[in-house]
Point group: C2
């Protein structure tokens, strides 16, 4: 018999994962769904509901505080509707919260996955004990989440935190969002692969393969991570100037290359942010790697219904 717990769902690019997590942040169980996200809203919501049922059977209905779900798209928070899921347009306009809630007979909180990851890191990861932080998640793109006073900053309809689309170079690489020089076009796994191609390292190298080359001492591969670090540094310097928060975290797969991009990144922040430099001795700004890896979103999603309990 578990103490009161909640269920977090993380809808990724391929399939879903779900976890039961108790109110102290202990993960009780984790499972993966079986339906490809590309199957579309109906089958995916079936899969979500089944995953929740499995966990509910195991840990009890009475102790379940609530359900949170992170999805990789923009959400109209008031309506619980997905308004923009870049590479899965089949979900656009889908009232996922209501559907899931109806299917499960209980309240569901829907959240953007990058926001959920930021909350997860704040709750049980690298941000424990810190009320105000920013998380950048470096993956295929760059996701962002802003935590203020221990809560996700949503903005008007829930689209705050689109930090991957900050402009770091006004005439930089074109982005599908319509902008040029978005952070994510210069500092994501996709950007690393594209630079490898531009430098003649290979046509279809993954960021992991470029990282392996850097480890082997390849100068071009190292240069790629340096350029990525500079891009991150430009964005982080602005974020430090904007928020003056104590903590900025970097998560996502590409963070494995920390040793290759972090020096350039930190040098850039130090050079570009007077706020960073002038507070070094009074109240230093920490820029660090996140700790929960791929589980950050699960912790964050599970944290949402618990927030009223744990305060």
């Amino acid at each position: 018999m578990a103490a009161s717990y909640s269920i977090g769902i993380d809808l990724g690019g391929t399939n879903l994962r779900a976890a039961a997590i108790d109110k102290d942040g202990k993960m009780l169980a984790k499972l993966s769904g079986s339906t490809p996200v590309a199957s579309g809203p109906g089958p995916v919501v079936d899969d979500m509901a089944q995953s929740v049922e499995k966990l509910r059977e195991q840990f009890g209905r009475d102790d379940l505080v609530g359900i949170g779900a992170g999805v990789p798209g923009n959400i109209d928070m008031a309506k619980g509707v997905i308004v923009g899921w870049g590479n899965m347009p089949i979900f656009n306009g889908y009232a996922m919260r209501e559907e899931l809630s109806k299917r499960l007979g209980t309240k569901v909180i829907l959240e953007n996955d990058a926001n959920a990851a930021a909350l997860g890191e704040q709750w049980m990861g690298a941000g424990r004990g810190v009320d105000d932080l920013v998380l950048l998640t470096l993956g295929t793109g760059v996701g962002g989440g802003i935590i203020i006073g221990g809560r996700i900053l949503h903005g008007q309809i829930g689209m705050a935190g689109e930090l991957g689309h900050m402009t770091i170079s006004p005439n930089g690489n074109p982005c599908g969002c319509g902008n040029r020089g978005c952070l994510e076009k210069h500092a994501s796994a996709t950007a690393v692969s594209a630079m490898a191609r531009l430098l003649g390292l290979g046509h279809d190298l993954t960021a992991q393969q470029v990282y392996d080359l850097a480890v082997q001492g390849n100068d071009r591969a190292k240069e790629i991570f340096k350029v990525m670090g500079e891009g991150l540094g430009i964005a982080l310097a602005s974020l430090v100037n904007i928020f003056n928060f104590p903590l900025y975290l970097l998560g996502g797969g590409v963070v494995a290359a920390w040793d290759f991009f972090a020096p350039a990144m930190l040098a850039e922040v130090e050079r570009r942010s007077y706020t960073y430099r002038s507070t070094l001795k009074i109240a230093p700004t920490r820029i660090e790697a996140a700790k929960l890896g791929g589980d950050a979103g699960l912790f964050g999603a599970a944290c949402l219904p618990l927030q009223d309990v744990r305060t």
Copy 2:
């Protein structure tokens, strides 16, 4: 006999101004100090205290809720100490709050002037009824203030909102803060003057004079405001992506040139921010001129001690 009121002080670049403002936001009286700010901390605090005394005599000690003061420097909020006042280093490290408080025998709230202006606009200006907004003040430099839930965002020690030092062009104009391409080096009165010089319009033209030339149809002068608008647009697009707030305001003297810079600014925001475009029909983002002019800081400073009263 006034209803309960507070006193706001705005310490400008040359001298101070002070105003008694009642809890409904009605300005009861406004006066200017006589001491140049360049005289340094001692004489300036004397001047501040005398101004407060004059207003206190006129409107009564019993009804005075409190005193707020905006200063054009970075403040360590916890200590009430000025930690960085760019062109007045004589104030750096000065414990203004304690000094003023001792002199007046009452509690004083110290605040950065751009933050105070943002709060003033939110209280009685262009942001009335809006809980979340950003104000950019375009003057000699570019100041910034962020209001979340009707309160100033301070960050760790009170240095949040340094929006004039967001990077809009990584290799742009050098800035005294150590960065390159800061917004304020591309979109302030100083930047307008510098561009006029670069374009051969004149060596010492003020932004006002460049504006007059634009009004007379001078193409180079118009181009300057277009470039300024583009710079503002780059920064605003990032701010819209970061905050998804309903309102972004522009204040300060250079806003008089709105008709010349706003079209380029808004076009840039529209092109660069997917958030701006995709919320147009759901929850549009307003980008507008501030309304209180030079009094925004006075209203904001006076609002600080009233915040507990008016909530």
